[in-house]
């Protein structure tokens, strides 16, 4: 009975920052699980007979399960965790507007991801890429998002800080935009037919990245960089230009995913032009990133969270140099339909946005729990395994994609070139092993830190350098 009461207190706790901590713990669980789905799927890419006769472990079901677990489970929850710490701090409050509401949201979110992914594995899917979660789960995710939005907005409005730091703008933007994108993208109100369904589908497919992961991730990065480096943010003006141009140019880009299909030409033109214009917000983030860290690059040697943040910044540069050019007709014409795009997606979601959450969590968890991270060497291992993992994954997928694109374009017999991709698929699985090993260490490290009985006092360090 005592254990149950304790569990109840832990789950629906009113303790400051408990929601942030609980969100992160659950998120890491989904991270490892989601990557496991991806790993099994990657094995099936070259040994299709490995798993025989188990529908739940067929490639066509593992892939949506992988995507939804890491997107809705890991990354979104990781973002909410970061927001639940950063927002009260920046708004000048001791805790969230309602920690209990935060924990209830977490309960709702867990329910959605758990049952949703279970249902996807069992074939209960909407069949639209990135939006596979079926009707009821769409509503649950939406409800959870609105609750997060309510909590964050109320925290900001009731905070003592009247000058809002730029991260708060980004979070408010993300939590305003994403529910709208989600409702339209999952076709909750209206059903479109035929190609209009595809247009709405890719509006969502691209904007879950643009209006949620990018906006949220950049917001977190803008909080972390000045903290880590001790420098002020290089330019608030640039960051605001970035914010508004993301809002202007990200929303219409979705159609570049179906650039050669018979959808209206004007829509494709808007999508391509906006995609290229995305260079503006990207460059503002990059300028801010490099200029804020000016003179502090040596910190990377000791400061593990900063290492993650720097890797994320570089990966962001790479992603966003690829993105606008891939979206132009002449390049899309060649690269579309190939594994290059899969590599690009991993670069964005794994190497950039996941790394931002890693960096944030190594900084936030000691702040919340008041303890140093359990093991510094585990964190270093986590960094190198993840870092090498994504580089190998991206390179192998890119090469496989180029082979594939050439195969389709020169109308070579399919059976010939598909075998040429196999070595790169094998390398991709190896990188998957590296990544998952790193994440298991990460899980171990964070869980040990949070649940350990020994309370090693946190050393005084405004930049967080001594926490890991």
């Amino acid at each position: 009975m005592q254990a149950l009461t304790n569990l109840w207190r832990a789950v629906f706790s009113d303790e400051p920052f408990s929601a942030s901590r609980n969100f992160l713990i659950c998120a890491i669980f989904y991270l490892v699980f989601g990557m496991l789905f991806g790993l099994i799927a990657s094995l099936l890419m070259y040994s299709p007979d490995l798993i025989h006769g188990i529908p739940q472990l067929a490639f066509g079901r593992l892939r949506p399960a992988h995507i939804n677990t890491v997107l809705i489970g890991w990354l979104s929850m990781g973002y909410v965790s970061c927001m639940y710490y950063i927002v009260p701090v920046l708004a000048g409050r001791k805790s969230l507007w309602s920690e209990r509401l935060g924990n209830i949201t977490l309960f709702l979110w867990n329910l959605t991801v758990f049952v949703g992914v279970y249902s996807i594995l069992n074939g209960y899917t909407e069949g639209r890429e990135y939006a596979e979660l079926n009707g009821p789960f769409d509503w649950l995710v939406l409800g959870a998002l609105l609750l997060v939005g309510l909590n964050v907005y109320m925290t900001i409005f009731t905070g003592t800080e009247k000058k809002w730091y730029v991260s708060l703008w980004y979070f408010m933007g993300a939590l305003f935009w994403f529910p709208i994108v989600y409702v339209i993208g999952n076709r909750a109100f209206v059903q479109f037919t035929g190609l209009n369904d595809a247009i709405a589908g890719w509006f969502y497919g691209h904007n879950i990245l643009g209006m949620w992961f990018t906006v949220g991730g950049v917001g977190i990065l803008y909080y972390l960089l000045p903290r880590f480096s001790g420098n002020p943010l290089y330019s608030h003006t640039l960051s605001m230009i970035g914010f508004w141009t993301i809002g202007m140019f990200y929303a219409p880009t979705g159609t570049h995913h179906i650039l050669q299909s018979p959808v209206p030409e004007w829509l494709k033109a808007i999508a391509v032009i906006s995609s290229v214009f995305l260079l503006i917000p990207v460059l503002t983030v990059q300028v801010n990133f490099f200029m804020t860290l000016k003179g502090k690059w040596h910190l990377m040697a000791d400061h593990i969270p900063m290492r993650f943040a720097m890797a994320a910044g570089l990966a962001y540069l790479l992603t966003c140099m690829q993105g606008p050019f891939q979206a132009t007709r002449s390049i899309n014409w060649y690269l579309h339909f190939s594994n290059w795009v899969v590599g690009h997606a991993h670069l964005a979601l794994l190497a950039t946005f996941s790394f931002i959450v890693f960096a944030a969590s190594y900084f936030i968890i000691p702040k919340i729990t008041g303890r140093k991270i359990y093991s510094r060497s585990l964190a270093i291992w986590h960094f190198w395994l993840s870092f090498i993992g994504w580089i190998v994954m991206m390179l192998s997928l890119t090469i496989a994609g180029l082979i594939q694109a050439a195969g389709w374009h020169f109308t070579l017999p399919y059976d010939q070139w598909v075998m040429e991709m196999v070595p790169y698929f094998i390398v991709r699985t190896v990188s998957g092993f590296l990544l998952i090993a790193g994440q298991v260490l990460y899980m171990l490290n964070i869980y040990k830190t949070v649940f350990s009985k020994s309370a090693e006092p946190l050393p005084e360090s405004p930049t967080g350098i001594a926490y890991v």
Binding site: P55, I184, F192, L195, L267, F337
Partner: protein, 346 residues
């Protein structure tokens, strides 16, 4: 209300309006303005076929198979049109092609083949990476195959009906060659045909004087690959893995002017044929079309002589001397067939 909060409110409303407008234009507006008319290929599914479609969706086939043929996708059958997709909800367009495009798969293989392919793909396609769907029940498999057999069947049939050469269309101009049987499916994209219609108003490609103007352009730009007689055996061709077209093959006599124009202007994907539209004017391209039409019909293909070169033991001086030999021989050919080179069928 405090003025400060009011400022924020105004900003917030402003953001909301801008963003909602953008969303409206790019996600909602197309659904109201983009209403393509149903084509023959917009299939109305029977109950069994629709169940098959649900299985296709459930098993995640869409993650490896696309369902739209693009302009550049040669040898994948008929192009899709917007009206083909009216009954396709949710859309199964797909984004990644680890396996082939399935837009036109219907009717290509017998049911039994599909059945075997789903149970064990490698039994009918060695080296395939497709997973086995042996866990599907027989009834499910039947539905799935029924669905696959609908894909693109109407599209191909409609295209065949549409492109069947009528007497008028084959006649074209006053001296156009009669379209030759099985080749008439070949056709330039619509925009090229429109462009050609405009250009050909000013240039009569059946005029020998115009063809003669094209001869000079051909000799300067094309002869090094396609050869002075158009047989695809120019000196440069010896070093090409994919040989230049032998324009004297009967196959090319089935080409329409617009198709020639398209190939000249845009080049040929997967070959070294450049996009001449980048360096030659429309008029020059039209002159070239006129000249190419005058090339003689000849079933013999001397380019096969070039192909016998063993590339793994490619001896550069040897190949060069062979080329010179060929060129000198080709100049001799000119004397052999003077009437064919001097104006063709005009």
């Amino acid at each position: 209300m405090q003025p400060r909060i009011l400022n924020y409110l105004i900003a917030a409303v402003f953001v909301a309006l801008i963003f909602l407008t953008i969303i409206f234009v790019t996600a909602i507006l197309p659904a109201t303005t983009f209403q393509p008319e149903a084509t023959a290929a917009s299939h109305i599914y029977t109950a069994s076929e629709w169940r098959g479609r649900e299985i296709y969706k459930r098993e995640g086939c869409v993650y490896c198979h696309t369902q739209f043929v693009r302009y550049q996708d040669r040898e994948m059958g008929e192009m899709v049109q917007a009206g083909d997709y009216l009954n396709e909800t949710p859309h199964l367009l797909g984004t990644e092609r680890t396996g082939p495009d399935l837009s036109n798969i219907g009717g290509k293989y017998p049911d039994a083949w599909h059945w075997a392919h789903h149970v064990q793909p490698r039994s009918v396609k060695p080296g395939s990476l497709m997973p086995s769907f042996s866990y599907l029940k027989d009834s499910e498999m039947k539905d799935l195959v029924a669905y696959l057999q609908t894909l693109g069947k109407e599209r191909e049939l409609a295209a065949r009906r549409r492109k069947k050469p009528t007497h008028e269309s084959a006649a074209g101009g006053h001296a156009a060659a009669p379209a030759q049987g099985p080749l008439t499916w070949l056709e330039a994209p619509q925009e090229m045909r429109d462009e050609w219609k405009r250009i050909s108003k000013n240039v009569d490609t059946n005029n020998s004087a115009i063809a003669n103007s094209g001869r000079g352009i051909y000799m300067q730009n094309c002869a090094q690959c396609h050869g002075v007689t158009g047989r695809g055996n120019g000196p440069v061709s010896s070093s090409m893995i994919k040989k230049p077209a032998n324009l004297t093959r009967p196959f090319y006599k089935g080409y329409t002017d617009a198709l020639y124009y398209w190939r000249l202007k845009e080049g040929v994907t997967g070959t070294r044929m450049p996009r001449w539209g980048r360096s030659l004017s429309e008029q020059q391209l039209a002159y070239l079309v006129a000249f190419i039409k005058t090339l003689p019909v000849n079933a013999a293909t001397p380019s096969s002589e070039v192909e016998v070169v063993n590339y793994s033991q490619l001896d550069q001086p040897d190949v060069m001397s062979k080329n010179y030999e060929q060129i000198s021989r080709l100049t001799e050919i000119k004397d052999e067939y003077p009437e064919q080179l001097g104006g063709g069928r005009h």
